[in-house]
């Protein structure tokens, strides 16, 4: 199967690869996986007290589409408020990267990683339990 040029571009030149210190209170970490293919994705978001995503890092072990999806997401969420970031749907990623149907689960994974990272940040910040439930959807 041929990858789209945008997938290849992110794959060959991934943005924001790496990690933040896990114990940094401003950092939310989301680790999600796709059990059908065994891919694992870690997304970390550095979030200000007002809830703005200041920086993002990812590490993904998986296929080119999974790597491209997470790379694209790190660019997409930077500068956004968490309420905006939580509303990002995988369809946005599918459209941007031209993902074929068999790779849609990679975009779902990236969407879930954002939610998991924000939920983790909220938990660390001790935000009200109701908010957390919404975030975990």
């Amino acid at each position: 199967m041929a990858y789209s040029s945008k997938v290849l571009e992110h794959y060959n030149n991934p943005r924001n690869v790496g990690s933040f210190a896990k114990d940094d209170a401003d950092v939310g970490t989301g680790v999600v996986g796709a059990p059908e293919c065994g891919d694992v994705m870690k997304l970390q978001l550095k979030i200000s007290d007002s809830g703005v995503i200041e920086d993002a890092r990812f590490k993904t072990f998986g296929c080119g589409s999974a790597i491209a999806s997470s790379s694209y997401v790190t660019e997409l969420v930077k500068g956004k408020h968490i309420d905006e970031a939580i509303a990002i749907r995988n369809t946005t990623i599918v459209q941007e990267l031209n993902l074929p149907p068999v790779k849609i689960h990679c975009s779902v994974l990236a969407e879930d990683a954002i939610k998991a990272a924000i939920a983790d940040w909220k938990k660390r910040k001790g935000t009200a339990a109701d908010d957390l439930k919404v975030a975990e959807g």
Binding site: V31, V32, C37, G38, F61, V108, L109, D112
Partner: protein
């Protein structure tokens, strides 16, 4: 009920007509196709015997000169039989198939990776990256990393065997009805996901070790 294209008599859906022994155009689940009860613990010898017995009965080679509907039943039945056999003989694919029979899917609400497992995945992947990077430089560092990776590979085998044991334990509990379906299903999905992550990791380690060996 399904009607036999050879003898026109009706029987419960299965692949071999119990009246005349001809192929039946039945669409059954994999267990029924092989004439087995819907149980997760399977004796593999028994499974293989069932496969060969039914295959001999309905194989298309025997129906070359038969009417089209009999030939069609033989072809479809053989395809279903072979597919079912392949799925059921492997405990992992059997477990995934079982979830589908229960109207569930392995990936459905099942994407959180347990922290401990995630840590293992990232740790091993980073060691692999290190090994890959050291490949171009000859010498002791690369050798040391490769030797360490062999230990990692053994540990992964142990973890995989433990997961497979757990899978079998889950199978036994399904068969004995030892717990509610919901809890058994949750348990099955969790252990199958763990196996998937371990399998991917083992694949990546093996690839790297092969490259090291070839060099």
């Amino acid at each position: 009920m399904v009607q036999c294209p050879s003898c026109a008599r009706r029987s419960e859906p299965c692949l071999v007509c119990p009246q005349c022994g001809g192929p039946l155009p039945a669409e059954t689940d994999g267990f029924t196709a092989l004439g087995l009860p819907p149980k997760l613990v399977i004796d593999l010898d028994e499974l293989e015997r069932a496969y060969h017995t039914i295959s001999r009965r309905i194989h298309p080679d025997h129906f070359v000169a038969s009417p089209p509907d009999v030939r069609a039943a033989s072809l479809k039945g053989t395809a279903l039989l072979t597919r079912s056999y392949r799925i059921l003989r492997d405990s992992i694919s059997r477990g995934i198939y079982w979830l589908e029979l229960k109207g569930d899917k392995l990936s459905e609400s099942n994407n959180r990776v347990p922290a401990e497992l995630a840590e293992l995945v990232f740790e091993v992947q980073e060691q692999l990256a290190e090994l890959r990077a050291s490949r171009d430089q000859s010498g002791d560092q690369s050798k040391g990393l490769a030797a360490n990776m062999l230990h990692v590979r053994q540990d992964l085998d142990i973890a995989m065997n433990r997961a497979l044991d757990e899978l079998n334990g889950n199978f036994r509990r399904w068969d004995s009805g030892a717990a509610s379906e919901a809890s058994l299903r949750g348990e099955l999905k969790a252990v199958l996901a763990r196996i998937a992550y371990l399998r991917t990791l083992i694949r990546d380690v093996d690839r790297e070790l092969e490259t090291v060996e070839a060099a």
